[in-house]
């Protein structure tokens, strides 16, 4: 028999098992964020030539642990929490088969621990990508397989919950937009995990000696069907979180349900082609294949993101204008709740994801421009803009809402929480920017020593590259402090934060209560949003200029054909 409580903030019925699973997945995710983030700082401090913290063996080991820990374990555990939240909680339903969901959680945890043990035994420093024929110990792959199977089961629990909610009529009409975004993420996750299974299971058997040969090019094509598509899970989940935060903090509703949902649909249809982004300078692949796939057909998934890039700030602007902040073009933005860490996380994440992560991703994924960027530090610069400044910050933002709503605790140190998104955003933005700067100067990624002091031949490295690596180190420390502020505060809130009962919920509401200003829910329709128009026009100008600057850079290198 499912046990429910009624949420004093939202009036939603909350299934105790769903709540417990959300807590478990979120907590484990945040633990991996803490560990993986610490490794990240060690990496940045090693790459800072003046500090050069670790020796090469430890550096490559820790870099492997960093990538796997944050890119897979932190993000996917947290995404499981989001899936359960967007299904059982938002749909007012019980969670399907909680026992199986716990089994999935246990499998994921066992897999994550097994892979980490393999890495720390020292014979699996093969990086997150583990390109064959470089071989890790069998447990490295086995752990990833177990983790993926667990995540897949979690996705099916999510789908089953949708079916139950529909049958039990726990909601009316269509699912909420946030749930729709979560469905997008889960569908892409199934594709992603299938790709992972297709390549990791044979690779595991190969590492055990049952298979003699894995083609390195084929490995890359399928591996990136997992590796890049898993980033598309993040994008979908993160956009869903943006809409969720805007809704909960401001009562925002999308400008148009139709447009926002269509944009998610574009993700489902086209994001899987992105494996090609990693194969633009490989031997033998035709230009036709590269152009079609790297552009997601004709940039149709990019179109989806650009639509959300309008719709999310548009929804915020419309909600603020309804509340009376109508003066000028930007009063709505000036008077936004910048002291609310959920809101500031959302907005900083939105801006950094667009400008740092989004634009650079499209440019790096241009068939020919990739020649001057492939495997340089530009690549991690780009994806720290998407995954750290974008996804991680968005997930931090919603955690400030999940703690009071699901853990039923007040935030332990609210003043620290006010500052945290700015500090983390500044650090993550800097990391992204300076790594990309170093990348344009040709500094390789995953590299212990840009002075090449142990190499038989010398390499001239521009002085600016050293400056960039130093700044990267400084901003990594800032991001680390921002991450620490988040983790201490959340752990403190969960353990010793003030309990949130009905009285507290009334005096200190977390979710926007609507009031008279926002009547009903639905699309904003034809509401005018001039501020958003100015914001996206700025974005578009930056995009076009930077795009052509890179063609100019390309035109100056050695002609090749």
């Amino acid at each position: 028999m499912a046990i429910f409580r009624t949420c004093p903030d939202t009036g939603l019925k909350i299934h105790s098992q769903a709540e417990a699973l959300i807590k478990a997945n979120a907590v484990v995710g945040i633990v991996f964020l803490a560990i993986g983030g610490l490794f990240g700082i060690a990496v940045a401090l090693t790459r800072w030539p003046a500090v050069h913290l670790l020796d090469p063996e430890w550096f490559y080991l820790v870099l492997t642990a960093h990538g796997v820990g944050v890119l897979l374990f932190w993000i996917i555990f947290f995404e499981m929490a989001i899936l359960y939240f967007a299904s059982a909680i938002l749909l007012n339903s019980r969670l399907a088969v909680p026992k199986i969901a716990w089994g999935a959680f246990a499998l994921m945890l066992a897999g994550a621990i097994l892979t980490n043990i393999a890495i720390f035994q020292g014979d699996s420093s093969v990086m997150f990508t583990s390109y064959v024929p470089m071989k890790a110990s069998p447990n490295f792959y086995l752990g990833l397989i177990l983790f993926a199977v667990g995540a897949l089961i979690g996705c099916f629990v999510f789908f089953a919950t949708l079916v139950i909610a529909k049958n039990d009529k726990t909601y009316e009409g269509s699912v909420p937009l946030v749930t729709f975004g979560a469905i997008t993420a889960a569908i892409i996750a199934v594709f992603t995990i299938a790709s992972g299974a297709i390549i990791l299971i044979p690779t595991w058997l190969w590492s055990l000696g049952f298979i003699s040969y894995i083609d390195p090019l084929m490995y890359k094509i399928i591996w990136w069907g997992m590796g890049h598509s898993s980033q598309q899970i993040n994008v979908s989940a993160q956009v869903a979180v943006w809409y969720a935060i805007a809704a909960m903090v401001l009562g925002a509703k999308p400008l148009s349900e139709k447009v926002s949902r269509s944009a998610f649909l574009l993700y489902i249809l086209f994001l899987q082609l992105a494996s090609a982004h990693h194969l633009l300078v490989e031997p033998g692949l035709s230009s036709e294949w590269k152009i079609f796939n790297t552009s997601y057909a004709m940039y149709l998934a990019v179109l989806g993101s650009m639509i959300h890039g309008f719709s999310v700030p548009g929804a915020i602007e419309a909600a603020q204008r309804r509340r009376g902040f109508t003066r000028g073009v930007f009063e709505w933005l000036r008077k936004a709740p910048w002291g609310n860490p959920a809101f500031s996380s959302l907005f900083i994440s939105l801006v950094l994801f667009g400008f740092l992560g989004g634009i650079t991703g499209v440019i790096m994924g241009t068939e020919q421009i990739n020649l001057i960027m492939h495997n340089t530090l530009y690549v991690p610069g780009h994806f720290h803009g998407t995954v750290v400044a974008g996804t991680t910050l968005a997930f931090m933002g919603i955690t400030y809402l999940v703690v009071p709503l699901i853990f039923r605790r007040e935030i332990w140190m609210p003043r620290l929480a006010r500052w945290q998104p700015y500090l983390f955003g500044l650090g993550a933005g800097g990391i992204s920017l300076f790594m990309m700067g170093a990348g344009t100067l040709g500094v390789p990624r995953r590299h212990w020593d840009i002075t090449f002091s142990d190499a038989p031949l010398s390499v001239d490295v521009p002085g600016t590259a050293f400056l960039m690596m130093g700044l990267n180190g400084v901003f990594a420390i800032l991001a680390g402090l921002g991450g620490l502020a988040f983790i201490i505060n959340i752990v403190g809130s969960v353990l010793i934060g003030k309990r949130r009962d009905k009285t507290v919920a009334r005096t200190n509401p977390v979710v926007f209560d609507g009031g008279a200003a926002v009547a009903g829910y639905g699309a904003e329709g034809t509401m005018k949003v001039p501020g958003t128009v100015v914001l996206v026009a700025t974005f578009f100008t930056a995009f076009v200029l930077y795009y052509y600057v890179n063609w100019k850079f390309l035109s100056e290198v050695w002609p090749l054909s």
Partner: protein
């Protein structure tokens, strides 16, 4: 709110804001521009990677590279024992990556065209030509053929930018570009 089901059950019939429609059109057209720019560059640009590649065993590729090096060796690179090879302009030239070197050192003439064959003898490597910043992924078992035309004289480094084990950061090669005699 976006966390509730839409109040209007016929939400797909709700009108759109003009500004949003315009933005969708702009974004879609921009996608087309970027798509066709890639195709355009194949006709108008000078930097397009060929798709010419062959399957080859590491032994065979090493053999061909060594044969070229023996034929056109002009000197050794410092005290490293690595040959500096100056093949005639317009010919097929070879370089392999292995743990942890790019071999041999090549000497090319400016503004002359060469067909550079690249492969790996063991793991994957990243051919990263610096400071011009051209980056190619090199696989064992595949021979990639790139037609190059150096447009500047000087000393260029080939850095490995695909992680290839604990000596990865010592894997460096060199290409000299000199004026044609």
């Amino acid at each position: 709110m976006a966390i509730h089901p839409p109040a209007d059950r016929l939400w797909w019939k709700e009108p759109l804001a003009t500004s949003e429609v315009i933005w969708i059109a702009v974004a879609f057209l921009w996608g087309l521009v970027m798509f066709f720019t890639m195709i355009y560059w194949h006709f108008a640009g000078e930097q397009n990677l060929s798709s010419e590649a062959y399957k080859i065993s590491p032994e065979k590729f090493a053999e061909r590279t060594e044969a070229m090096a023996a034929k056109y060796k002009v000197r050794e690179e410092g005290d490293t024992g690595v040959p500096v090879v100056r093949p005639p302009a317009g010919t097929d030239i070879y370089m392999f990556g292995r743990l942890w070197e790019w071999w041999p050192v090549l000497e090319l003439e400016k503004d002359k065209t060469y067909r550079l064959h690249l492969s790996s003898l063991d793991w994957q490597h990243g051919f990263s030509l610096q400071p011009t910043n051209i980056n190619l992924q090199i696989h064992p078992g595949y021979e990639m053929v790139v037609t190059l035309k150096p447009n500047k004289t000087g000393e260029f480094s080939v850095v490995c930018n695909e992680f290839c084990g604990v000596g990865h950061h010592t894997m460096v090669g060199r290409i000299y570009v000199v004026d044609a005699k």
